[in-house]
């Protein structure tokens, strides 16, 4: 469940005022946000993703004083997340292909992302559960075909076909909505 900017900011400010419960709620709510942030950029290194999520939580906690209460919370959060990832690559001396740099540097539009997610949810709900799940696993959560297949306990070709048919149905529906 993704929390809104307003809710996250409220938890953050309460935490800054010393409310440990709000602070814990904030950190818990950040976990899925950060996971999807890193998963989209790291391409399937799940251990690294979890390490980065934890490092980012620690940074959010120890460097809270750098947050300006007058400004959006998620902008601050993603600036820290981006720094953590660049530092991660630097430490591992990983070089990043130039076409991926754009994906790393792209600013996270929280509002846009939330709206887009609502659109995607609405569209996927019109598909069969199996197709919706296959698309969600492979194209939103970033799993490989093999991972998606073993998670859903179906064959790999079944996943591929579900994705393909699902997209076809979505395309037809979108064309229908427009005309």
């Amino acid at each position: 469940m993704q929390q809104s900017e307003a809710q996250l900011k409220a938890w953050m400010t309460d935490g800054l005022d010393g409310d440990a419960v709000a602070h814990a709620a904030l950190l818990r709510a950040l976990v899925p946000l950060l996971r999807s942030f890193y998963r989209r950029r790291m391409r399937g290194a799940d251990d690294d993703v979890e390490d980065l999520v934890q490092e980012t939580l620690i940074s959010v906690h120890t460097r809270r004083a750098s947050y300006d209460r007058e400004r959006p919370f998620t902008a601050w959060l993603y600036a820290i997340a981006r720094y953590r990832m660049i530092d991660h690559f630097r430490r591992r001396k990983v070089s990043v292909p130039i076409e991926d740099v754009e994906a790393i540097l792209v600013a996270e539009g929280f509002e846009d992302a939330t709206n887009a997610q609502m659109d995607v949810d609405r569209l996927l709900s019109t598909l069969s559960p199996k197709q919706a799940r296959a698309i969600r696993d492979t194209h939103i959560d970033g799993l490989s075909i093999a991972e998606a297949a073993s998670r859903a306990e179906i064959g790999e070709s079944d996943v591929k076909i579900s994705v393909h048919r699902g997209f076809k149905a979505l395309a037809a529906r979108l064309r229908g909505e427009q005309s």
Binding site: A20, L27, R63
Partner: protein
């Protein structure tokens, strides 16, 4: 440690963070360093004996306004760079204003002085050590700022290091004024500025390494 345990242990200790925590943190770091710098100037270099008299004159205040205005501008830049979100630093060029003003005063001085004594006025008595003293005296303040940054989140490390070096240099020069007996504007413009720039350069050089988090 799994993520849930981590969150539990992190939220076991949630001290309140006041609204102006960032400014306060930078202020503490700089003040701590500045006290050491002041102690070094007072106890090792010595306060200039005619300080009372000099404080009535123009050149003392000219030096102070010059170094302090650079100091204020660079501390504002440090505060901006201590937050992770990108910010525009275009206004940093305003720091050129005190430099240009001082250059104007310097040109006036040169015009009213016979050219035979220009060299003596420019070099003063301490040109060889002045920049190095400013650079050394900047170190305690720079270290204080490194301490400040430990709870803050700079993401442009080279720029943050340079700004911290500039701030440390400018405030060190401000403190150094109570010792330094030089009076001419072109002396200050050259040798003070050189010391401050050296400090900024050192900051830019070590920033990416020392400010990493």
């Amino acid at each position: 440690m799994n993520t849930d345990q981590l969150i539990q242990s992190l939220s076991a200790n949630v001290p309140a963070v006041p609204r102006r925590a960032l400014g306060r943190r930078i202020g503490f770091g700089m003040t701590g360093g500045a006290i050491i710098t002041l102690a070094l100037v007072v106890f090792i270099l010595g306060i200039r004996p005619d300080l009372h008299h000099a404080m009535l004159g123009f050149s003392f205040w000219m030096k102070w306004v010059y170094t302090a205005s650079l100091g204020i501008g660079s501390v504002l830049a440090v505060a901006r760079l201590a937050r992770p979100t990108p910010t525009s630093l275009r206004w940093v060029w305003l720091l050129a204003i005190p430099v240009l003003l001082l250059a104007g005063i310097g040109i006036g001085e040169l015009a009213s002085t016979p050219s035979s004594s220009w060299l003596a006025m420019w070099l003063g008595q301490s040109w060889m050590i002045c920049p190095w003293l400013v650079l050394s005296l900047a170190m305690p303040i720079f270290i204080g700022l490194l301490w400040s940054f430990r709870r803050l989140a700079p993401t442009q490390l080279r720029a943050a290091g340079a700004a911290a070096g500039l701030a440390a240099g400018a405030w060190a020069a401000t403190i150094y004024c109570v010792h330094c007996p030089e009076t001419s504007a072109i002396f200050v413009l050259t040798w003070y500025s050189l010391g401050i720039l050296l400090a900024a350069g050192v900051g830019a050089l070590v920033g990416p390494r020392l400010l990493r988090w």
